[in-house]
Amino acid sequence: MNIWLVMIFGGLVTFGMRFSLIYLFGRFQVPETMRRALHYVPPAVLSAIIFPELFLSDGVLDVSLSNTRLLAGLAAILTAWFSRNTLITIVAGMAILLTLQYWM
């Protein structure tokens, strides 16, 4: 699919969800289970993206000290845990990755 089509459909879906229950006011309630499940969307989706980025190199599982992205990623997780700051996490992770790539 063309990238513009992806954006237009992605935009329509997003708008549709924002508009849906304003439009259907009084005719539909969000079920309790869905309300609860929504809390788990961010950790689930984001981890599903993060894990392969860190653990796979060229599509193969690589848990070793030569996997610089895994090492930098683990360091970034620690940084995020203690700093709770997006910018610091990104800067620390990039700095560690570039340093490791330079030395290895």
Binding site: M7, T14, Y40, V41, P43, V45, I49, L54, G93
Partner: protein, 238 residues
Amino acid sequence: MFTLSNEKVRHFWAGVRAELPLLVGVFPFGMIYGALALSAGLSKSAAQMMSSIVFAGSSQFVAAQLIHESAPGLVIVLTIAVVNLRHMLYSASLAPYIASLSTRWKTLLAYLLTDEAYAPTILHYERNGVQPFGHWFLLGAGLALWSTWQASTALGIFLGAAIPDSWSLDFALPLTFIAMVVPVLKGRPYIAAALSAGTVALIAHALPFKLGLILAALTGIAVGTVLEGWEARKGGAL
């Protein structure tokens, strides 16, 4: 044509003012999005237009990453939908306050209904109830956020274009996700959701059409939801 009464202007600026502290966090986030969208392979115009067509921060980051991995369009749209599902809650929560507005107003306000516009608006409504022209508050907050998001995206694209490829800037995208996910891991169901989704993503990464991502996300959501139910039934004894 509508005339601008004092009340409309007053509500509008109250919305803008309430939005200002949030914009301090939004601006760098928009810049990071602009720069990373370029390094993920989007054209400058596509990166910019995504900010006005989709207009939903975290889902734009995720979409950029999936475009970078050449995921099929349908999977990208589906993932955007899952990431933005929470907007249905905002929609449900604001609905009673704007039920009497015209469809045209509802359409405009729904387009502007992001996390950062919803938060001050719902507080405003809960404090003041429905007032005449109270919806101009959401318009003010929403437009303040919208223009900041467009401007910060543009600046990020401008700066991102100057960064050479050898800097491995594509890795900043998973780093951004790490920065987003770690603070929400505030209990065992959340940690279990993250670990199970990540593990399934590794096992299923070879599935065609990036279906492994959808499968992994659904697994994580199910594991978290079920575990929370169990812990609630145990009475939170542990």
